[in-house]
């Protein structure tokens, strides 16, 4: 802890006031950020489970897809469906839409699957000769897989964003808790100490002054008494001397 080392603010009531205000602000911010962090964290924890679940689901659905594809390979006999599908690709009938979602003030992208049925119609003419039904079943399985994957993508971006955000918020919380607030407290402590010190000094000084004054007063008094005594002494001038004729 850099005990507010070199530069110390002028210790006076005004700076104390400003620092007290800063402390108030910092601790309020600290509390808010902590709340935000906790909110993010609880969301994050919920996300973890979702991610694992969806990951499993994606694995399952892709496995189903691969299986269905094997079936389609089987059904479409000699035809190489793989290449005709690959070469057929031109315009996607499945696209995604991205829109922001808000979690505790953090904007997170969410993806949604959009299907364009008119584009699909072209693909439907595939395998009319044989295996069309299986091919359609395969398409449906893969569509499910795509939906799962898109869901996973949303979760994963949310995961990433939240992860970053939590890291950042934690850093801020920690900075407030362990650096900024202690430093301000330190300064306030210093200022109050300094001011107490000043007060004590002042008191002592006043005391000293009073003491001096007292001594001085006593001296003066003595002097005055002396003077008075001197006055009180009978004046030869005023005494009537019988011996004196005139």
């Amino acid at each position: 802890m850099s005990s507010a080392g070199g530069q110390r603010p002028a210790a006076n009531r005004m700076t104390l006031q400003t620092f007290k205000a800063r402390l108030g602000g910092a601790s309020k911010g600290f509390k808010l950020l902590k709340k935000k962090r906790d909110a993010l964290k609880s969301r994050f924890q919920a996300l973890l489970k979702d991610i694992v679940d969806t990951k499993l689901k994606v694995g399952e659905s892709l496995k189903d897809g691969a299986f269905a594809l094997a079936k389609a390979h089987y059904a479409s006999s000699g035809d190489d469906i793989a290449s005709s599908i690959v070469e057929r690709a031109k315009k996607p009938s499945v696209t995604t839409k991205m829109y922001p979602d808000n979690v505790a003030g953090v904007s997170i992208p969410v993806f949604k699957v959009l299907r364009n049925a008119s584009q699909e119609a072209i693909a439907h003419t595939m395998g009319v000769g044989s295996g069309g039904a299986v091919l359609n079943a395969t398409r449906d399985t893969y569509l499910k897989a795509v939906e799962c994957i898109v869901q996973l993508a949303s979760l994963q971006t949310a995961f990433h964003t939240l992860d970053e955000e939590i890291k950042m918020t934690s850093r801020r919380v920690n900075a407030l808790e362990y650096v900024l607030i202690p430093r301000i407290e330190d300064i306030i402590h210093y200022i109050t100490q300094e001011m107490d010190e000043q007060a004590r000094e002042e008191f002592f000084r006043v005391k000293k002054v009073v003491e001096k004054k007292k001594v001085k007063l006593a001296k003066e008094k003595e002097q005055a008494e002396k003077n008075e005594a001197a006055i009180d002494a009978p004046s030869i001038l005023q005494k009537k001397d019988a011996d004196i004729v005139f």
Binding site: K63, A66, F67, A70, K71, H73, Y74, A75, S77, G78, D79, D80, A82, S83, S84, E87, R88, A89, K90, A121, H124, T125, M126, G127, V128, G129, S130, G131, G132, A133, V134, N136, A137
Partner: protein, 393 residues
Amino acid sequence: MVTVYSKPGGLTTFNIKDGFVEALLRGYKLGFLKDVDYRSILQCDNLSDVKLNLQETDYGNFCAEVQQVSPSIIREKAMEKLVAEFEYLRSQADYPLAQFLDYITYDYMIDNVMLILKATLNNPNVDIFSLVKQAHPLGQFEESVLKSICAFENSAKGYGELYQSVLIDTPIGKYFAKFLEEESAKSAQNANDVQNLLAELSATRLESSLRKLYLEDFAHFCETLGGETAEIMLNLLKARADATAINITLNSFDTQLNQINTRKSQRKPLYPSMGFLYPEGTEKLSEVGDENDLASVLRTYPIYEEIFKSHQGQSNEQTIDDAFYEREVELNEMAFEGQFQYAAFYSYVRLKEQEIRNLVWICECIVQRRKDRTSDHFVPIFSKEAKFRNRNR
């Protein structure tokens, strides 16, 4: 004399020319995986075990040089074996049989041309050599033909020239010619608009039409061969034509082909003009609008009614394709029963293809750890356990 030589001949004359090739074929028949082989393959937990088990069978060391086997490699290697066997048969064959074997390959040629055409139509920059590798090896063209197909890839106008200068020389060129002729006659268009006709939207139509023309031509050829060959082959081809017609109808339900005004004009021309369903069945099919209609049309054809039931049954295990495969296997096995005819050659290729499908399917199931599902889609060949055998019993 000429007629004698251009026909397969019967009991007395068949062996003069085709005896050796048929003997070879009968030998190859023993190469089909038996029930016991399937059982041992089904026991496997990984593909290396499958490979090991296949060594016991006719496949032998067919993928010995491959370290890491995958279903697609197994498919490729098994296909190579089939092609090798087929080429050997072809090299031993004399005129009518050789022609017959060539007809078998036309089917795959159509596949390959369509593959390349579709690919280049959609994406002019496609890597043509990788496509050539994907093409079916039984329908392979000569190097020069492929190269020239590559040469035409770039321009849209090129397709017309492609047809006129390349495809016309290939065995399947006549189907193209006929297709274009029909099309231009129908739409009263100029015959020069080939490239328009070959454009994307009609690709499916082109394929169906080619297939249809091919089936008809093949059937016609078989008819000229006469005798038992014609009898059995027509049976097989008709069954195939019917399967195509039913499949097209069924698969068109979600597409624009099913719109009332296009049903007759667009969908009906796709039906082969042959088969057991032709003509009154296909006529009815062309008006079908949904599955219930289709079921009621098929009700009059007991075999297809049963096949269609497997589609309507809600269980996922059996699709209509499986049912058709099963029936095809049944018919093709029957073709082996008769001697002194060519149908067995056709059946051999079809059955072998089915076997490769079986093998790939089982391998896929093993790879994906879904062995419980293996029985869904495989049709053992010459198996005592085949469903149709048990049904007859």
